[in-house]
């Protein structure tokens, strides 16, 4: 069954039940809303947080009520602001009866105006927390055999049955259900993790999962009420539910509905990712602000690196065109989906600007940054890109993106390499750079007998042209021991980025010197030529400083006689 947006359609596996999905462009400000028409009731799942959407819901319900008068049952998959804010704002014809349902924890949070559990703290301007009465308290802490009965004005009743399910492993899946007429049932499962009040709903072949599919996402995990153990339990239980072939489609709280096997696979991947998410710190307002600054820095760096990548491809295409190799030039440009990535990065830049004008919340910028970082990471992992572009540059970009996604998930920054002696790491790095250049020349010579291979080798050579190739680099190592808390890759990342940046502004001679002082190993980077640090971009330098900060070090820039010296400071270690 394929679910279409903004249209009534039959729900398979149910009798005379239809669904009308409202699925706005994915964002964290307002959720999807699913409306169901059943013989005995109209259901609204997650009204959302957008007044325009509420107007649409009102119209759809009013039209459905004109065909058959029924009570309206509003359900929240959880109490987060983007799902719940408009729950009290439905305006329906006089005499229409509305009953609202949510998990007890969510009902209590909204009643108390709790900005944390409702995550209202992430939205600036104190958005109103839904204060309307919820008559239907789900999974209330009452005896399991008790059943909730809601009396309607016309004398009818809505009965909510409690039927916990014993899982094959002996654990319990909390489950309730209520009849919708003609033998149809709304099944309700308690699925905490994203929030303690998270529930999933099933009607016929559809399973509505709320925000469970996003619960392990960077920038989402760690929200107030997020719980690692609950999430892992829930993922196991939902996986068990999805074993039943009767469920064919899963509907998330944001974005499009997907076939159940696809969702099951996604949740299994997510479970593997989530298993590492122990000790995730609270994603409070302060952490969101820090991530916002970090994402600004990262995207500045990513945009700069991506522009260099794509610029090199344009350079290659230019020279291939001069050689009248238009097909080869086009193939080179097709290696990287330049226009798409550029549009995404430009879009991000605009969202960041909109934040500066107070038009969007900080959290939106962070989530957008996560989306962009994930996408660029995928693009850079593709084989043709790796074959053509400077691998060192690609690797450096990949490590920056991975660091960010990890930190956005609340994981500690990991030093995955063995720390080493800085003198040796630098000597090794400079040696490797010389060898890279030599290998590329050999590639070209070997391919000379075959037209296609030659063109590919030429393109590779042009694209991978190292800006350090013509730079004279002097290295003055300190006489003392230089063991410090940094591995080869991290040092390469920062040192090479700085040296390439220096080469980019026309520096021809770079001096590297190591010093040991006051428990730190310092790496000084300077030039005989005039050098303006502004050319590197403040945010990019801040990003390097942030990375070094995680290692207990820093990046400083000192100005001397019209020029500048970058100083990388690293905590000294005793050699092993």
């Amino acid at each position: 069954m394929q679910i279409e947006v903004n249209v009534w359609q039959k729900v398979l596996g149910a009798t005379a039940v239809e669904i009308f999905p409202i699925i706005p462009k994915t964002n964290c400000l307002f959720s999807n809303c699913y409306i169901f028409s059943a013989p005995d009731a109209l259901l609204v799942v997650d009204p959302g947080a957008r007044p325009e959407q509420t107007k649409q819901i009102n119209q759809i319900l009013t039209d459905a009520l004109a065909l058959s008068q029924r009570p309206i049952l509003v359900f929240l998959t959880h109490c987060h602001q983007d799902h719940s804010q408009e729950a009290g704002n439905l305006e329906l014809p006089p005499g229409t009866e509305i009953k609202r349902f949510a998990h007890q924890v969510g009902v209590d949070a909204m009643k108390q105006g709790d900005p944390n559990l409702t995550v209202a703290y992430l939205y600036p301007g104190n958005p109103g927390i839904c204060s309307v009465e919820f008559e239907g308290v789900l999974f209330a802490s009452t005896p399991a055999s008790e059943r909730l009965v809601l009396e309607l004005a016309n004398g009818n009743r809505i009965e909510l049955y409690n039927e916990p399910i014993t899982m094959p492993d002996g654990t319990t899946l909390q489950h309730q259900w209520l009849p919708l007429g003609d033998g149809n049932r709304l099944e309700i499962y308690h699925t905490p993790g994203h929030s303690p009040c998270s529930i999933s709903l099933r009607i016929g072949s559809l399973l509505l999962l709320g925000d469970l599919p996003f619960a392990a996402m960077p920038g989402v995990c760690g929200l107030d009420g997020w719980n690692h153990a609950d999430l892992l339990q829930t993922l196991r239980k939902v996986d068990w539910l999805l074993e039943v072939p009767d469920i064919t489609v899963c509907c998330p709280g944001h974005g499009y509905c997907v076939p159940a096997p696809t969702m099951r696979e996604k949740l299994q991947i997510m479970k593997a990712e989530a298993s590492n998410l122990t000790d995730v710190p609270l994603l409070d307002a302060e952490r969101v602000s820090t991530l916002k600054i970090y994402v600004d820095e990262l995207l500045e760096e990513t945009a700069a690196l991506f522009t260099i990548f794509s610029g090199r491809l344009y350079t290659v295409s230019y020279y291939l065109s001069l050689l009248e190799e238009e097909n080869a030039a086009s193939r080179v440009l097709a290696t990287l989906d330049i226009d798409r990535i550029d549009a995404i990065l430009s879009d991000f830049r605009r969202i960041a600007e909109a934040f500066n004008n107070n038009a969007v919340p900080e959290w939106t910028v962070v989530l957008k940054g996560v989306k962009v970082a994930t996408l660029v990471q995928q693009v850079l992992s593709e084989r043709p890109v790796q074959q053509l572009l400077d691998l060192s540059l690609v690797d450096r970009a990949q490590r920056r993106l991975a660091d960010f996604l990890s930190v956005a998930r609340g994981l500690q920054f990991l030093q995955t390499e063995q720390p080493g002696a800085v003198n040796e790491l630098i000597a090794e790095l400079l040696k490797r750079k010389k060898e890279d250049t030599a290998t590329k020349s050999t590639d070209l010579m070997e391919a000379v007998d075959d037209d296609q291979s030659f063109l590919q080798a030429l393109a590779r050579r042009l694209a991978a042209h190292s800006p350090l190739r013509d730079i004279e680099i002097e290295f003055a190592p300190a006489a003392q021991e230089t063991h410090a808390n940094i591995g080869a890759e991290r040092l390469d990342d920062i040192l090479t980025n700085l040296m390439e940046g220096m080469a980019g502004i026309g520096v021809k001679h770079i001096s590297i010197a190591t010093r040991v002082a006051s428990g730190y190993v310092e790496v000084g980077l300077s030039s005989r030529e005039r050098m303006d640090p502004a050319a590197f971009g403040k945010r990019r330098l801040d990003l390097y400083n942030r990375t070094l900060g995680w290692l207990g070090g820093s990046l400083q820039c000192s100005h001397r006689a019209g020029s500048a010296e970058f100083v990388i400071r690293l905590p000294a270690l005793r050699s092993v």
């Binding site: 522009t307 344009y314 001069l322 430009s346 830049r349 800006p467 980019g504 502004i505 050319a535």
Partner: protein, 122 residues
């Protein structure tokens, strides 16, 4: 000296300024066309630069100079436009001239290899 001046962008009202759109000014000198860009050149705005720059580059004679002093940001979409113009000029033996290039943009253009086929001055 023959000089004509055109403002090519229609985005000089207050709203579009808030959106930081691109403005291009075109100046026809006797033996050169000078374009001045103001604003970011990204995937949303590159087309505004492409049209006048290519028209100048594909013209029969004269040098083409692009002043980037007021360009706050240039993404790969902007680089693509520069390459198209450079190719068009190369056909008649000219090189595109970029002047007043901000340092950060110069850095990227240089690292991308553009200094080998475009004259670039900061």
């Amino acid at each position: 000296m023959f000089v004509t001046l055109f403002r090519l962008s229609n985005s000089h009202n207050q709203n579009s300024r808030q959106m930081k759109e691109l403005e291009i000014t075109l100046e026809h000198l006797e033996s050169m066309v000078v374009l001045r860009a103001v604003g970011p050149v990204d995937s949303n705005t590159a087309a505004q630069l492409q049209e006048p720059l290519l028209r100048a580059a594909e013209g029969p004679t004269g040098a083409v100079e692009l002043d980037l002093a007021e360009v706050s940001y240039m993404s790969s979409a902007g680089l693509r436009v520069l390459v198209l113009a450079a190719k068009a000029l190369q056909k008649r033996g000219e090189r595109l001239r970029l002047v007043n290039v901000p340092l950060q943009t110069y850095n990227v253009l240089n690292l991308a290899g553009f200094t080998s086929f475009i004259d670039i001055k900061t």
